[in-house]
């Protein structure tokens, strides 16, 4: 049941990114990456293995919709979920500080990795320019949305746990 919920969450998030967020003109020409936030939250709530598996599936779905180099988003999100999972036991789940820090640093580290991989596959980016003008703003937008998404995922997680 929880898998269905997570699947629906990813599909709706991608649809929001493709429609509502697509017309936003935020500084840096980037829009919040909801799927990326969800992957980090899943890792924090469920651990490395689940985080990596979910990151892989969500990333692959995003890559297929994106239509560009398939696999980069999937690899990056799989790593993101895996690393986020190390902090599963670190603090109380009700504490919102960890997800905020995790989303901010995770966006900077793993989106930079994604940018590096895209440059390696001949996409025309200039790393430091895009890092400062694109990835830093993206980290801020993601961080602003992180508490709300973490709260939704935490509540549904406990809901499904209670029903078990």
């Amino acid at each position: 049941m929880r898998i269905v919920f997570l699947g629906a969450l990813v599909i709706i998030s991608l649809a929001i990114q493709a429609t509502f967020f697509g017309v936003l003109r935020l500084p840096g020409n980037v829009t919040p990456d909801l799927v990326f936030i969800i992957v980090i939250c899943e890792g924090l709530l469920r651990g490395s293995e689940r985080g990596a598996l979910f990151g892989f599936a969500a990333g692959l779905f995003g890559d297929i919709l994106n239509g560009n180099v398939v696999g980069i988003g999937s690899l990056v999100r799989m790593l993101t979920g895996f690393i986020a999972g190390f902090f599963e036991q670190a603090v109380f789940k009700e504490n919102f500080v960890l997800p905020i820090i995790a989303v901010f640093t995770g966006t900077i580290i793993f989106q930079s990795l994604e940018l590096g991989l895209r440059i390696a596959f001949n996409e025309n980016y200039r790393f430091w320019w895009v890092f400062f003008t694109g990835i830093i703003p993206l980290a801020i937008y993601n961080t602003l949305l992180a508490p709300a998404i973490y709260w939704i995922m935490m509540r549904t997680d406990s809901f499904f746990e209670e029903r078990r």
Binding site: V30, N66, V70, F121, Y125
Partner: protein
């Protein structure tokens, strides 16, 4: 080592990584057709995206309309005046067009066909921050094909990438993927340049000289238009404006930043060029009659 190889988790991760690497290498170049899975998922997402668009227009549009009511009134008056002026000009233009056709006929030139355009609406944009593509509401049934030019009244938008039965993906000129390139002409001095998607900032393009290891004469504010040699785009459409230049020791540019003149983030209606206007031999004096 033996333990590591027989470990199921290790084997699963290795297989996943190998599959992903294979995917990355096979999809890193522009493909003739999108894969079956891509076709299926992109088509399946359309109804949801249409619903979200409809909701956005219903709530966002309604709220904006209330906020901008006063502005609309003033705009309405201005537009009515403009329509009256343009109608007068239009009748004058029709007279000129007729006269032009008469003169062409008398000189033995065939009539120049206008670009055959198909109007399309944007359904959704690429959900990723690392790609600039749009999905439009016209597809195979409307006669769209891969690599048809997509334009707006302000200039070049991009080209058709993947065509499905009722929708199509458009790759914008600023998409940074390998091979997204247009031949351009600097209006000021008729120098040929190559415009690549991506570069310095997200949403911008890069200009390089048409010949490798060659510098070119560029200035800030130069307008770049599509070149005649393009197989895809009609000649003379505005691509963008030079907003940054990287110069060599000889003060000549080896690379420049181009800002598209079309606001690619706010596209609603755009036009697919079904038939490119070409200066055929028949239209050249002394050419085939």
């Amino acid at each position: 080592m033996n333990q590591l190889i027989t470990n199921r988790r290790f084997a699963a991760v290795t297989i996943i990584l190998l599959v992903l690497t294979w995917f990355m290498f096979t999809t890193s170049h522009e493909r003739e057709r999108e894969g079956t899975l891509e076709y299926f998922f992109n088509t399946a997402m359309i109804p949801l995206e249409k619903t979200f668009n409809w909701c956005g227009m219903l709530f966002g549009g309604g709220w904006n309309n209330i906020l901008e009511m006063k502005k609309f009134k003033q705009e309405n008056i201005t537009l009515k005046e403009k329509v009256a002026y343009l109608e007068t000009r239009q009748s004058n233009m029709e007279w000129l067009e007729n006269e032009n056709n008469r003169l062409r006929e008398s000189l033995g030139f065939s009539a120049s066909p206008l670009n055959d355009l198909i109007a399309a609406e944007t359904l959704s944009v690429n959900p990723s921050n690392w790609g600039s593509t749009l999905t439009i509401n016209k597809g195979d049934v409307d006669g769209l094909h891969r690599n048809m030019a997509v334009i707006s009244p302000y200039g070049v938008v991009g080209r058709v990438l993947d065509v499905r039965s009722n929708t199509a993906d458009v790759i914008l000129i600023n998409d940074p993927r390998d091979g997204n390139t247009i031949g351009g002409i600097v209006q000021r001095n008729n120098t040929m340049v190559i415009v690549d998607g991506g570069g310095t900032l997200l949403g911008e393009c890069t200009i390089r000289p048409a010949i490798d290891n060659f510098f070119t004469d560029l200035q800030l504010g130069d307008v770049v238009t599509t070149a005649q040699i393009s197989d895809i785009f009609p000649q003379g459409l505005v691509i963008g404006k030079v907003v940054g230049i990287e110069q060599g020791a000889n003060k000549m540019a080896f690379r420049a930043v181009l800002e598209p003149l079309v606001d690619l983030g706010k596209l609603q209606t755009l036009y697919v060029v079904k038939k490119k206007y070409e200066t055929s031999e028949e239209n050249v004096p002394g050419g085939k009659q």
